[in-house]
Amino acid sequence: MIEINIARDFTDSPGGRYKRQGPFSGEEFRENFLEKHFTDSSSTSQISINFDGAYGYAQSFLEEAFGGLARKFGKKAVKERLKLISTEEPLLVEEISKYIDGSDN
C-alpha cells in the first residue's frame, strides 16, 4: 500500500485550486503525489491518503485534487484505489467522495 500523509508529505497548510493561484494547490498535489500512481493502468496498489494534521482544506483544493483525478483517470479507477483517512474531520471522506462522483458535472 502507498501511504500519503498530506500534512507530513506535502504541507500542513494546503492552498487553493490551481498552481497559478498560489503555492500548495490541489492541482500541484494531484500532479506530484497522485497522478504518477494512475498513469500505469496495470497498477492496482491501494493508495491511502491521510488528511489529519493540516490546518484545513479548501473545497476547491479537494475538488481539484480528487475530482480532477477522477476527470483524468475515471471515477471507478479512483474510487477503487483510494483509501481516505480523516479522524480529525470524518466528514471530509464523504465530501471527497461527492467530488469524485460529481467530477463530470
Binding site: 494546503p14 493561484q21 467530477s103
Partner: protein, 340 residues
Amino acid sequence: MKKLYTEEKFKIRSEKRAVSELRRRRRNRSKKAKPPSKHITIRRNLSKKRVRIKAPSVFSIVENIEETMAFFENLKRVSRRHRRVFIDLSRVTEITMDALLYLLSYFDYLSTNGIPHNFRGNLPVYDECKYLFLESGFLKYVKSSLEIPFKSKNVVQIQSSESVNPKIAKEVIDFVIRKLKTSRSTKTRSIYKILMEMMANTVEHAFIQVKPTSKWYLISWHRKKSNEIKFAFLDSGEGIPATVRKKISEKIVDFFTDFLAPESSRDSELIYSALKGQFRTRTKKGYRGRGLPTVYNLWQNKEISRLTIVSNQGYVNCEENENLEFPKVFTGTLFTWNFN
C-alpha cells in the same frame, strides 16, 4: 530728567502711542492660531490648495454604510479633479477595520492605474479609534512621518496579496488559537477553509475581464469584551453581482427594470443567491462556484456569526436577515464575520 520728557505734549503723545500699541496687540492676539490640536498629523503643512475630505464620526461600512460610502464617493469624486487631498479622520469616534481596508484598496487602485494623487491625512483624536488605526497596520502601506507602531498582540495586521496565501491563513488560525485559548479543531479548520476560498475567489473569479488590481485584503482582531475574533476580508474585484452569471430571464428583467424601476433590489438578491449556490458560477462548470456557499453554510451551522456581505449596491446582513440596496456603488466585495 530732560525737560522734553516732562512736557505735556510728550506725555499725551506717549499715552496715545501706548493705547494704540495695546489695541494692536489685542487685535493680533485674537487672530493668533488656536493651541495645537492633540491629534497627530501625518504631514504638518497643509497646503491651501489641498482639498479636505472629512470622514464621518462613525467610520464603518458595516455599521454606517450610508455616510461612510458617501465619504468614499466624495473622496473618489474630489480626487478625480484634485491631485492634492487631505483625509480628515480627526472627528472619527467609532471606526471598524472594513473602512480602513476599503481606503487602502482605493489607494492601491490609484497607484496601480497610474492615476496621479497626493494624499495626506491625520489620525482620529479619540484615543480608542487612534489606537485601533495604529494597530491595524494601515501605516505600513502608506508613507508616514510617524514611527510605525509596534506589532499589536490583539490584531493580525492588514495583509494583502494577489494570490492565495496559505501562510497568512495559517498565521490567522494560530492567532485565533492563541487569543481564544483553544486548539485546532473543526471550527478553526472552517475558518481556514473560508479564508482559502475567499482568496481563491478573488484571484480566480472576481473579474469579468483581466484587471491590473486583483487583490484581497484581510485583517483580524480580538475583541476582549466579547472574547471573539472579528474578521474583515475585502476582495477588490468587480463584486458578486457584477461577476456571477445571471440567469437569462434575469438579464431580460434587468433590461426592462432599468427603464421601469431602477430602484429595484437586485444586487442584494444576487448576493443572496450566490451565497445559496444557486448555480451562479461564472465559469459555468458545475463543480466550481462552491466558495460562497461554503461561507453561508458555516454561518448556518453557527460556526461563524454576524456574517455581513457588501458588494456593488447590495448589503446583506445574514444575522439580522437584512438585505438592502444603497445608492453608492461599493467596488468589490466585503465580508465581515465573528468567531468565538
